[in-house]
């Protein structure tokens, strides 16, 4: 790892000023993506601004069926939150299956959403739940936030402070983990409520997380796994790698979508 200078931010405003004062600074949250990347010398920021203890970026608030999760909240905290589980168990189950226990004890929702790894789990939840991504300067709808593989609508130096969403009447996440890395080969989040059904898919698309609008239309008229039988997924838009080619992934999307619908009940 190249050398770097570490700073601990007290809160989001402190983090913003530390970042703007740095030559080539990067936020450090749980470090479960950034530290391995720095160890491989694929990133070499001059400064690290640690937001894991930023007071206004931590914690969980559930008010009615509105859920707000601070960006620096760990996967283990989301998985173990009885307040969230009472209204939206699907996101707790998703968090409980990210990586492994040690990763979940450090990795954060803000880091995961900011990174927008094409095989990460939270982006599918954010998109299907129609979440709002809160930053230190504005609010961004999930539909506008995820702009392609490892790419988001965040500006240079913009800091995610939290995410919020309305718990759906029904929701489920079905993940087919890569047996070696545990990242999603395909993960489908289905959320259904007053505003209709939304289906978001991670792990499979060649441009990162996406909404399956044809599935949404079919489920809006008949919310059952069999409603997806007649649909086909275009392999041309799928990832293809040593773990599975695009035809395999196209099939997996449909299989996992049906499991998610069945899981949502």
């Amino acid at each position: 790892m190249h050398n770097t200078t570490y700073h601990k931010a007290r809160n989001a405003a402190d983090a913003a000023s530390l970042l703007s004062g740095a030559e080539d600074g990067t936020l450090l949250a749980g470090g479960q993506t950034l530290i391995p990347t720095m160890k491989a010398r694929l990133a070499a920021p001059t400064d690290l601004v640690d937001v894991s203890g930023a007071s206004d970026m931590r914690g969980i608030i559930v008010s009615g069926n509105r859920v707000t999760i601070g960006a620096a909240t760990t996967h283990a905290e989301v998985a173990g939150s009885s307040e969230i589980r009472a209204v939206c168990p699907s996101i707790c189950d998703l968090a409980a299956n990210i990586g492994d226990p040690a990763v979940r004890n450090r990795g954060t929702i803000g880091g995961s959403v900011a990174n927008n790894d094409p095989a990460a789990d939270y982006p599918a939840a954010m998109l299907a739940l129609g979440a709002t991504i809160q930053t230190n300067t504005r609010e961004i709808a999930a539909d506008e936030f995820f702009t392609g593989m490892f790419d988001t609508a965040l500006d240079e130096g913009e800091i995610i402070t939290g995410v919020s969403f309305t718990a759906p009447a029904k929701g489920a996440y079905a993940k087919f983990p890569n047996p070696a890395s545990r990242y999603a080969m395909c993960g489908v989040f289905v959320a259904s409520g007053d505003a209709g059904t939304r289906v978001a898919i991670t792990g499979a698309g060649s441009d990162g997380v996406f909404r399956a609008t044809d599935m949404e239309a079919a489920l809006n008229s008949n919310f059952s796994a069999s409603a997806l039988d007649g649909l086909s997924v275009d392999a041309a838009n799928m990832l293809s790698d040593i773990h599975g080619d695009s035809a395999y992934r196209a099939n997996l999307v449909k299989v996992m979508a049906k499991r998610a619908v069945t899981g949502a009940g």
Binding site: M1, N3, K39, D100, P101, A102, S181
Partner: protein, 156 residues
């Protein structure tokens, strides 16, 4: 350089480190506690798991400066005069062969038993296997590791 201070296995330590120093390198090279191992470059193997303020973390995927003021337990700190029940269980059940993964397995094992106890949940074989997803063993085939953790769960 930054001065870090932490408690490791009950002992206060303080040292100047480069900011890029990984916690595992601090533990192994400065403190000379070489029971914590490094088995990969990709944060996947779990040989480096230690407890930071009571929770399992990969010390290879965390900076020493991030652990300032923390309370750390490594494999060297789990036994009193006798072996910890988790260590004894690995011994009883032949839960290791070469032993390289064992410190991480023990630290993850203790963490999962404590967590399931605190939450009042049952740590059955399926749960142990799910909990061990971040610990790789190239020798045992995991079967005796699962048996070991299961025995210790009954004794802790």
């Amino acid at each position: 350089m930054t001065t870090v201070s932490m408690t490791v296995n009950g002992k206060a330590v303080s040292s100047d480190v480069e900011d890029r120093t990984l916690l595992v390198d601090f533990i192994r090279e400065q403190l000379r506690l070489t029971g914590t191992h490094v088995g990969c470059d990709t944060s996947q193997c779990g040989a480096c798991v230690v407890h930071v303020n009571g929770t399992a973390m990969k010390s290879c995927t965390m900076l020493a400066v991030s652990a300032n003021d923390a309370d750390i337990t490594t494999i060297e700190g789990v036994a009193n005069d006798d072996l910890h029940p988790m260590q004894k269980a690995f011994n009883d059940n032949h839960g290791l062969q070469c032993g390289f993964c064992t410190p991480g397995m023990i630290m993850s094992g203790i963490d999962m038993v404590n967590r399931y106890k605190a939450e009042g949940k049952k740590l059955d074989e399926t749960a142990i296997r799910h909990e061990l997803e971040g610990n790789i063993c190239r020798c045992t085939g995991y079967h005796n590791i699962v048996k070991s953790i299961s025995q210790a769960a009954g004794e802790m």
